[in-house]
């Protein structure tokens, strides 16, 4: 079944056309990689899906629901969670608190009962903490629980952001360069976790990634973009051998 269907998406910033008539379809259970040189429009696609940017035209449907009819904070309710390329964590809060914010779409208490911290609020808090605990275990990061994010190294932050997205219990994850800035060991860990998330949690993953060896190892399908337009779609090997894709990357090297 197709989960995410993007059709004829167009988006421009002033005069620059960042996305030019992009269409693609992500199947349930796949790891779908989006590759392309810098400025190709990869992150902009994510920002359009999560409604931070509003496209000029086109449609983005998730399980039959039109995302463009929703506000940014209503996207996660459908089961769509994401990470950001330049890490958007709550810096002054602890890792645990960050993960608990990941539970926001599941909150059922209101601020007045929270002010008095009623028994029900406590009960709910316990449930949320148990959920975050599962995620901490999955990603093997118990030791960071009470650390402030601002005290963490870059690699650990990347993991916290992934963990926070998982706390929303998503059915599809949008990961913007999950391995950038990670060292080789961290990248290997990341590739295992992404496989686990796909296989054990049954989560569909769409990821933007420059590391082609990581993409080759885990992606089921791949789309290459350049200058806001789709160059090729297919298996990773197909896309890598596509002459247009090679030209786009060579063009970048030459430039």
């Amino acid at each position: 079944m197709s989960e995410l269907i993007v059709e004829n998406l167009n988006l421009s910033f002033g005069g620059i056309k960042a996305i030019n008539d992009v269409s693609f379809t992500v199947e349930a259970g796949d790891i779908y990689a989006i590759i392309g040189p810098n400025g190709a429009g990869k992150s902009t696609i994510f920002n359009a899906i999560s409604r931070i940017y509003t496209p000029d035209s086109g449609s983005i449907r998730y399980r039959g629901q039109e995302l463009l009819e929703r506000a940014a904070h209503q996207v996660v309710d459908l089961g769509i969670a994401r990470t950001f390329q330049n890490i958007e964590l709550f810096e002054k809060a602890t890792v645990l608190e960050n993960l608990l914010v990941g539970r926001s779409s599941k909150i059922r208490t209101n601020w007045i009962s929270e002010f008095f911290f009623t028994r029900n609020v406590r009960k709910e808090e316990r449930v949320h903490r148990r959920k975050t605990e599962e995620v901490l275990d999955l990603l093997n990061m118990q030791q960071y629980r009470y650390e402030r994010v601002s005290d963490l190294a870059y690699g650990a932050r990347k993991n916290v952001e992934l963990a926070r997205a998982l706390c929303a219990e998503p059915e599809i994850l949008l990961l913007d360069e999950p391995a950038s800035g990670l060292n080789p060991e961290e990248t290997t860990d990341m590739s295992f976790w992404l496989k686990d998330i796909k296989e054990e949690l049954g989560v569909t993953i769409v990821m933007v990634e420059h590391d082609m060896s990581l993409v080759g190892r885990i992606a089921d399908r791949c789309m290459a973009l350049a200058n806001g337009a789709v160059l090729a779609v297919g298996s990773v090997a197909e896309v890598q051998s596509d002459p247009h894709v090679q030209a786009a990357y060579l063009g970048q090297v030459a430039a």
Partner: protein, 358 residues
């Protein structure tokens, strides 16, 4: 140093799990409770004002410290609370109804302001809140039939359930109870989803939204709770001032509130308390300074504002964690001596935030 081994989620949830912190807070409450036995009635009414400042600062802390929305006009809510409460009392509404009503009115006005500015940031927000405060001060001054205008307004006597509380120790205990109630409530909020939502909006709006938080709603709620608390503080302050005039709630008072939470330490409840200590002793320090300085400087207009501004700037540059942050470092120094590392508190390398969403 105490290492806490947690064995249940409740230990994460409960207040004051750290034993040292628990004892310090209990000691502070005990001291506050016996204070009327220790000091005379003049000092006690000063202490009552100090408590009101804690409450007003707590209100601003919710907005600026926790939610990251700066307000340069929070004294307006102090004024709204003070006037509304006095006017309600004047109509014969009993204290226990009037004070919450004044708080709710202030909160509602705060929410309306929050709605109007929910898309503003930084500098624009500062200007908007400042303008709001000037408007409020002007309205209070002009609306003579209701507020008495610049002639001022007498505050009706304080009586609760028909019992007149004329003695300063009675008022002190009443105020203490209200302050502790709100500190407890805000501490509860901060261990709940609402408090975390505020922090999320402060630290990263983009990811807060992508995780399902309606950031505009969170900001409006922060404005509401903040204005409510500061409004209640204003209602209590009215009884300590006896006589209200619009000038008591001017720009300088707004600045003082901001100074308080920045110096005390943004983002912690303790910061509001430390800040209140600071602004309470500050006039004394300025008094001493004025004696030392040559006359022309000491009597120069605007000296206090200049000092306020300089202190705010100094703390933002050199100690963004405020006095409370200083104190935590000092404590860690003694707890871990001789192993204290300065680097524990040195912030990690910052990653570029300029290209945030790309």
């Amino acid at each position: 140093m105490q290492v806490i081994f947690r064995t249940s989620y409740d230990q994460d949830i409960d207040h004051l799990v750290d034993r040292g912190e628990k004892y310090r807070i209990l000691a502070a409450i005990a001291l506050a409770l016996i204070a009327p036995l220790l000091v005379g009635s003049y000092l006690l009414s000063e202490l009552a004002i100090f408590l009101v400042y804690i409450l007003a600062g707590l209100g601003l802390m919710v907005l600026t410290g926790f939610s990251g929305q700066v307000s340069f006009g929070h004294a307006a809510f102090l004024g709204i609370g003070a006037y509304a409460h006095s006017i309600f009392l004047g109509y014969g509404i009993p204290f226990v109804v009037s004070l919450p009503m004044a708080g709710l009115l202030s909160g509602a006005i705060g929410a309306a302001l929050g709605r109007a500015v929910s898309r503003m940031h930084g500098f624009y927000l500062a200007i908007a809140t400042l303008a709001f405060a000037i408007v409020v001060e002007t309205v209070i001054g002009e609306w003579e039939q209701v507020t008495g205008g610049h002639m001022g307004m007498q505050v009706p006597a304080l009586s609760v359930f028909g019992l007149e509380l004329g003695e300063s120790w009675q008022q002190y205990y009443l105020i203490l109870a209200v302050v502790i109630f709100f500190i407890w409530g805000v501490a509860n909020l901060m261990r709940s989803p609402t408090g975390r939502a505020m922090v999320a909006v402060r630290d990263s709006e983009a990811s807060a939204r992508s995780l399902g938080l309606d950031t505009a709603r969170t900001k409006i709620l922060a404005f509401f709770i903040s204005a409510l608390i500061t409004g209640v503080a204003g209602g209590l302050l009215a009884h300590l001032l006896f006589y209200l005039a619009p000038e008591s709630f001017g720009v300088q008072d707004s600045l003082r509130l901001l100074l308080m939470i920045i110096v005390g330490g943004l983002g912690t409840i303790t910061g509001a308390v430390f800040g209140a200590v600071f602004v309470t002793v500050l006039p004394n320090i300025i008094g001493v300074l004025k004696q030392i300085l040559p006359d022309t400087v000491a009597n120069a207009p605007g000296l206090e504002q200049l000092l306020f501004g300089a202190i705010i700037a100094g703390f933002i540059i050199f100690e963004p964690e405020g006095l409370y942050g200083r104190w935590r470092k000092l404590r860690l120094f003694f707890e871990t001596y001789p192993y204290y590392k300065k680097s524990t508190f040195v912030r990690q390398k910052r990653y570029l935030k300029t290209e945030r969403f790309r």
